[in-house]
């Protein structure tokens, strides 16, 4: 485990120019927790997060799809045993909030709201994003050397990159995500070398980037303004890369020390191994301050899980698991398929919760300010398909871990009243809560659900969640 204090102490003089670190150091020295950066991790799965799979023991009634609730339910988690699939999160119970009943009917699409889930806007199937999503906004507010790191479970081991369908840096710009853990490792931790060889490589790289910047500039002369804009995108890309490399070089070998241990899972054929590597990379990047915002596409409909000891799961995709487990009618028949579907769902869910628990554990082990890094972090786990495979977006169940330096009131089970009942709230309200917690008091975010009556307040954060 990386001990952050040792890590900071060991850093050479050359790395003093490193802004995020200095910011932490100063804040820590001054005993000013507000000066510490906030960290955000969004873990988004496909196929829906089933209500019955996240309710604590004793609250099973809230796990039903047919629940008709007209009053807010707010229970402390202390004293309750967490759901079977969430056992790994028991140690973090006081920093946990399980939230249900928020709707997001502005989302369309039978299998997921795409960019609309984190951006709170309507986004059609296969359509490019209309605007930036919240994770990207936060990344701009709390930039690291890599302002926004994103990972995608991918479908094949030789896949390098994938554009996310749930996160966007702006209009028409999908967030690129690493599918290959090895590539991510190389680009985040492997680009800095030390010694003479490194100096030469660095200078050669600089020459190359200068050449490319000149190449684009020379072409701009012969074009009109529209086409120049196209080249500007290209130019800015090079400039951003050049700048990042300079910063990374300054970090020198301290970066290499903080890197996660490189092992088989970084190149594994098995998707669960890759996902574990993604979580390792996320932890190391957050701990070193390379980034403050991570988005992880933990699974999607095309994934076929090879990593579980379950014969049927090796055969069918997550999409088919969804159909087997959730489709109406199947439940009435009570056939074995349906039970098997639920079993497969539970396996995936438990596994994802364990990954989240692992990440939280690593952050908790690194002291920061008066507490640990976890105190300044929030991990949000939800599905872009809400509560089931074919979703209607009436309930977007989620698990929130971390209280952002006591900005959120955690350790609770919150269930909002049903759609259009008094006191009902929308997912955008939760996204606004995050922004409030991050010191960005936004009270109007995204598209409004016009199907909701005036009685439902779609502005501002979730009062019940805010400390």
């Amino acid at each position: 485990m990386v001990n952050r204090r040792n890590f900071l102490r060991n850093m050479g003089a050359g790395s003093l120019a490193l802004a995020p670190f200095m910011q932490h150091l100063r804040a820590e020295a001054a005993g000013d927790p507000a000066g510490l950066p906030k960290r955000f991790v969004f873990v988004v799965r496909g196929n829906g997060l089933r209500p019955y799979g996240i309710v604590p023991e004793g609250l099973e009634e809230f796990g039903s799809d047919r629940l008709n609730l007209d009053k807010l339910v707010d229970r402390p988690l202390a004293g309750l045993k967490l759901n079977e699939s969430m056992q790994s999160l028991e140690p973090f119970k006081d920093q946990l909030a399980i939230i249900q009943g928020l709707s997001s009917k502005i989302c369309k699409g039978p299998h997921g709201g795409h960019f609309g889930v984190l951006g709170a806007y309507t986004s059609g199937d296969h359509a490019p994003p209309r605007k930036e999503t919240l994770d990207a906004t936060l990344a701009k507010k709390f930039p690291g050397i890599f302002p926004h790191l994103a990972f995608h479970i991918g479908t094949k081991s030789d896949e390098l990159f994938r554009y996310l369908d749930i996160s966007a840096q702006g209009k028409n710009t999908r967030t690129p995500a690493y599918a290959s853990a090895m590539l991510a490792y190389q680009e985040i931790f492997g680009t800095v070398m030390t010694g003479d060889g490194a100096k030469i490589e660095a200078e050669a790289h600089r020459n190359l980037m200068d050449f490319l910047v000149d190449d684009v500039k020379s072409a701009k002369k012969s074009l009109n303004s529209n086409e120049n804009e196209k080249l500007d995108h290209y130019l800015h890309g090079f400039e951003a890369l050049r700048e990042r490399q300079v910063k990374l070089n300054r970090m020198g070998d301290s970066l290499a020390k903080a890197a996660p241990a490189l092992d088989d899972k970084f190149t594994s054929e098995i998707e669960t191994h890759r996902l574990e590597a993604h979580f390792d990379l996320a932890a190391s990047s957050l701990i070193t301050g390379l980034t403050n915002v991570v988005t992880i596409r933990a699974d999607h409909l095309e994934v076929r899980y090879q990593g579980f000891d379950h014969a049927r799961m090796k055969e069918i995709s997550v999409h088919e698991i969804g159909h087997t487990a959730d489709i109406e009618g199947a439940a009435d028949r009570f056939d074995s398929n349906w039970k098997q579907g639920r079993e497969m769902r539970a396996k995936i869910r438990t596994y994802q919760m364990e990954l989240i628990s692992g990440l939280a554990g690593k952050l908790k082990a690194v002291p920061e300010g008066d507490g640990t890094m976890l105190d300044n972090t929030v991990i949000v786990f939800l599905s872009d398909a809400g509560s089931q495979h074919h979703t209607g977006y009436e309930n977007m169940p989620m698990v929130v871990l971390g209280n952002m330096n006591k900005a959120l009131k955690t350790g609770r089970y919150l269930h909002y009243p049903n759609y259009n009942k008094a006191g009902h709230r929308v997912l955008a309200n939760f996204l606004m809560s995050l922004q409030h917690g991050a010191g960005m008091p936004v009270d109007d975010y995204g598209d409004r659900d016009l199907g909701l009556s005036e009685a439902v307040d779609q502005s501002g954060p979730l009062a019940e969640l805010m400390a």
């Binding site: 554009y163 028409n172 020459n207 050449f211 190449d215 196209k230 290209y234 409004r448 016009l450």
Partner: protein, 831 residues
Amino acid sequence: MPFFSPLVRFRSWRLLVAATLVSGVVSGVVGANELKDFESHIKPFLAEHCYSCHGNKKQKADFTVHEIDGLITNGKDAVHWEKILEMISLGDMPPEDEAQPSKLDRSKVKGWISAGLRKIGRGHDPAKLALPHQANRVDHDDLFSGEFQGPSYSPPRLWRKSPQIYARFASEMRIKVSQPLLGLGGRGIQDYASLFADEAIIKTMMRNSHLIAEHMVSPVRSHMNRFLNGMFKEGAQTPTDAEIERGVEELFKQVFQRKPTQGDRERYVEGLFEKNRRLGGLGLGFRSLIVGMLMSQEFVFRMEVGLGGEVPDGRKMLSSQEMAYALSFAFYDKPDGELLKAAGDGKLSTREEVGREVRRILEQEDEQKRYWSYPMYHRWGEDYYQHRPRVLRFFQEFFGYTAAADVFKDKERGAHHHAKRLRKDADMFVLSILEKDQNVLSELLTSRNYPMDYFKDDRMKKLLEGNNQYRGVAEKYGEEFEAIAKTGKWPGIGTNHVYAYNLDEEMADAVRRDPGDLIALPENERAGMLTHPAWLVAHSANTENDPIRRGKWIREHLLADLVPEVPIGVDAKVPENDQLTFRERMVILREEECWRCHKQMNPLGEAFEAYDDFGRFRKEIVIGDADKYFKEKRRYEGQLKNWRTDLKKWRSYDAKGRAGKVAHAREILAGLKEPDKEVKNYQSARRNYENNLKRWRKEEEHWLKVDDVEQQRRLADLVRRIAGAEPPIAVSKPVNARGELRGTGNPKLDGPFENAIELVERLARSERVRQSFVRHTFRYWMGRNETLDDSPTLIAADQAYVKSGGSFKALLLSLLTSDSFLYRRDPNPNE
């Protein structure tokens, strides 16, 4: 300039904005002028056409305009103004049955509003208007009126290379790389000149370029690095200058298909290669040079600036080099050697020379016809068709049938379904029509001859014909081959998907014998692409048809129309009800507010209700547990067929052999029961069934407890009843595929129709449909939306198509030798 100057012909929104801005500046204070214009011209327009429904008397759709703020730039009523602009632009308002403003008035009001909105950063987003599906905003009648004389040109531009061009290059380098580029996304045309490359793309390309560079300087020799790797072998001598020179020249040939110029020597060789070579040796020098080349704008973008000769009106022609690439990428995903040669020889700088090259390319026969005969079973790549791949891709993107593979279908519901095979069938359908090149569009819309694919190794057939050269395949296919040799029947590998065409066994076997042959389907069942299962599936939902999407497709692709987007806040879901067909459930859309838009789509899309969501023709629509019903029905039909065959066989036996057997078969045949679907009210029948079961189980429980003489009798009775109870399966209703065609501009074609066949036959006769097709062809090959300046190009292309008897080649030749393709000019030189 007076506001309503008759001199102003608003040819594009840009010109219009410029004109309005100028008028504002000239008369001094912009705001005051704006308000004056509003009072004198806009308000009367609104009063005449809008107030009666959206004023103080009536407030239809909760929308009023009588108190709107005339000063758009105040921003207070920007949302209202945007709405008005959209309604006027699309011609959606005033409603058809009301008096219509003149075209000129409409366009002036439109121009005034959009200019005002643009000043405050609102209104139409230019990036959105540049998307292909927005191009229908340009009035169709204007485009083909002949009133607009051009001159036609495209803007000087950099067209980012397509994902296919990049993939093709990488595959020739024999290196597995990640695809950094994406098309436009969504359905429709993907490769458009408005695309750009940003940081995310650069990062991936950079990674790829480094991989390629590593490979090029590796000591392991390959086809691609053979001219470099000698320098990097162990113990290799320091190469001479001449050897290095040769290496650089070969690299230029490989990446840019040309020799390095003096400027290149300064920039690439001196500015990059030599610099880094001095730093870290020859390997680093070459690596940097290769990455530099692969990331250069010359490699990433297609240059179409117009470096050729200038004509008197200021337009510049593409240079012969630019032309060679423009033409190459019009047909292929890689530069064409002969075009580059023609350019190098100075034989590609006039319209005639371009025409000659286009003709040459179009006349090339697909001699190998690999596409038809190659066993495609294991190769479902995107790029399997390499004979003029971009031509086929146009039809794929125009019809959108390749999306069939993106629509998830439950295996339980349709075990036969194989989207990728259907997609290949549709590809072959297009190619078979292009091969004849007569009445292409009309054939595409109405042909009854469908090719169907299935996996068959042609070598098996050849071996069976006695060609022993192929004896290896006998071993390869083992038992399968033996079975074919013995029975003469081809196995059903991968033929299941043909059930989507409602083939009977005999026809299915014909497909197996000769895949790719055209199968004539019944006249009253299928006609053309829009009744092809691939198209139907691509335009369907997971479990049902999608008449709205289908109707929208026809409107936008064949009728040159634009359907407004789903208004935000509308929950686009049709209520569930298992007693009604989808069409019946969509009745809610006929309420006035929805119907205003949906009448443009539903009456067209509902024509395809005669097909289910797998594209199978049907006369009845089964509601309820349709899956189970079809499963049982298939089983029933299978049994029926088997026993009938047996019966036939046994009848032919002599009397002794057949004794008993015939009677047995007859008995079984008589006993076969067609699955029941004659339940009038599915829901109540289902409820009855469930209630009965519940009651009987309760009784059973009761009788089990009672020790009574009655017990045995009652229990036996119950067990029998429970075992005999069957849930109702389904209920069927006759198909209703009636609808109405509007908007062809031809009263003989517009009007109600009975079914999809009638609809497509009428569409195929429509002039407007043909011209709409020409417009899409234009967009695809020009990489941009048409403007009124392109009117001469479009008219000429349409005429070329008509005069040649519907030759797609003639249409393409006309487009690729048009001013719009050949010339470049900045549309807004002052901006």
